[in-house]
């Protein structure tokens, strides 16, 4: 098993190197010319006003919140899916209870309007 992940580690390391390689090449060969307008933030040619780093709307957070909870629910389904076949009907009912509670959460979020983009 460690061998498997050793392979994955080598894949990630060499892969990062191969992705960085073109960046090294352009750093070596690309032309350089300096005039300040070129390094302006692109805003369709209009001078930039203020920073982009400002406060955003809370609705993005509401969606990612519901996402995190559901993502966590799904991780419990993976081990279940692997063994369910061997455990018989009990596994099905156990999972049904789990999924019903999940759907309750979805229904609650739906009713409270957490799934509306308002």
């Amino acid at each position: 098993m460690l061998l498997d992940w050793g392979y994955v580690a080598i894949f990630a390391l060499i892969g990062a190197g191969m992705v960085a390689l073109p960046l090294l090449i352009i750093w070596l060969i690309s032309p350089r010319s300096n005039y300040p307008q070129k390094f302006e933030t692109y805003e369709s040619g209009v001078p930039t006003i203020g920073q982009a780093w400002s406060q955003f709307h809370v609705r993005y957070y509401l969606f990612s919140l519901v996402f995190v909870v559901f993502d966590v629910e799904i991780i419990y389904l993976y081990p279940w899916a692997v063994v369910a076949r061997h455990l018989g009907a009990l596994a099905f009912w156990e999972m049904l209870v789990f999924l019903v509670i999940l759907v309750l959460g979805l229904a609650y979020a739906w009713r409270r309007g957490a799934l509306e983009w308002t």
Binding site: W53, H57, Y60, P79, I101, A109
Partner: protein, 166 residues
């Protein structure tokens, strides 16, 4: 030094190094971005400990979901505009002393305790997803169903808190 030990020290260095960035960086977005290598380092440690399923979950939940949540929260509050602001309170020296004392205490306990050696001849079982599923649906069924209720409650609570009261 065996290959495993080399990998262990590398992963520990990555984890603790990024941890130090998280703790000291004055820019909170840098701190949040440094969470990713720290969490991936911990993932590597799990793999060295033969816990590949936990490692997969660590990447999926911590790196893929919680970090996104944290980045969103940063952008929704100050959006990184408060970058110049003071990030530490007045008790930095005291805090450092407390943390160092805590680390010293924990390390002393870990090093000086005479941990029982693993029973001779005991082979590690393979912690496959299947084995974890067996355990969840068998002995730990209450934990399994209880988790879903905890998740439901925290979903309801978080929605209630985060929504604008209108």
């Amino acid at each position: 030094m065996s290959g495993e030990a080399v990998v262990f020290y590398l992963l520990a260095a990555v984890t603790l190094g990024s941890g130090a960035v998280i703790v000291t960086s004055g820019n909170i977005v840098h701190a949040a971005a440094a969470l990713v290598p720290a969490l991936l380092g911990v993932t590597g440690l799990y793999i060295l400990l033969n816990a590949e399923f936990v490692a997969g979950i660590q990447v999926l939940i911590y790196a893929g979901a919680i970090t996104v949540l944290i980045l969103f929260a940063i952008m929704l509050t100050e959006g990184g505009t408060g970058l110049g602001g003071r990030q530490r309170n007045e008790q930095t020296a005291v805090g450092a002393a407390v943390a160092a004392a805590m680390a010293a205490l924990l390390i002393a306990v870990a090093v000086r305790t005479n941990w029982a050696p693993p029973a001779a001849g005991a082979t590690l079982p393979s912690y496959t997803p299947g084995a974890i599923g067996q355990s969840f649906l068998g002995r730990n069924i209450l934990v399994f169903e209880g988790t879903s209720i905890v998740l439901l409650v925290s979903l309801m609570g978080a929605i209630m808190i985060a929504r604008r009261e209108d």
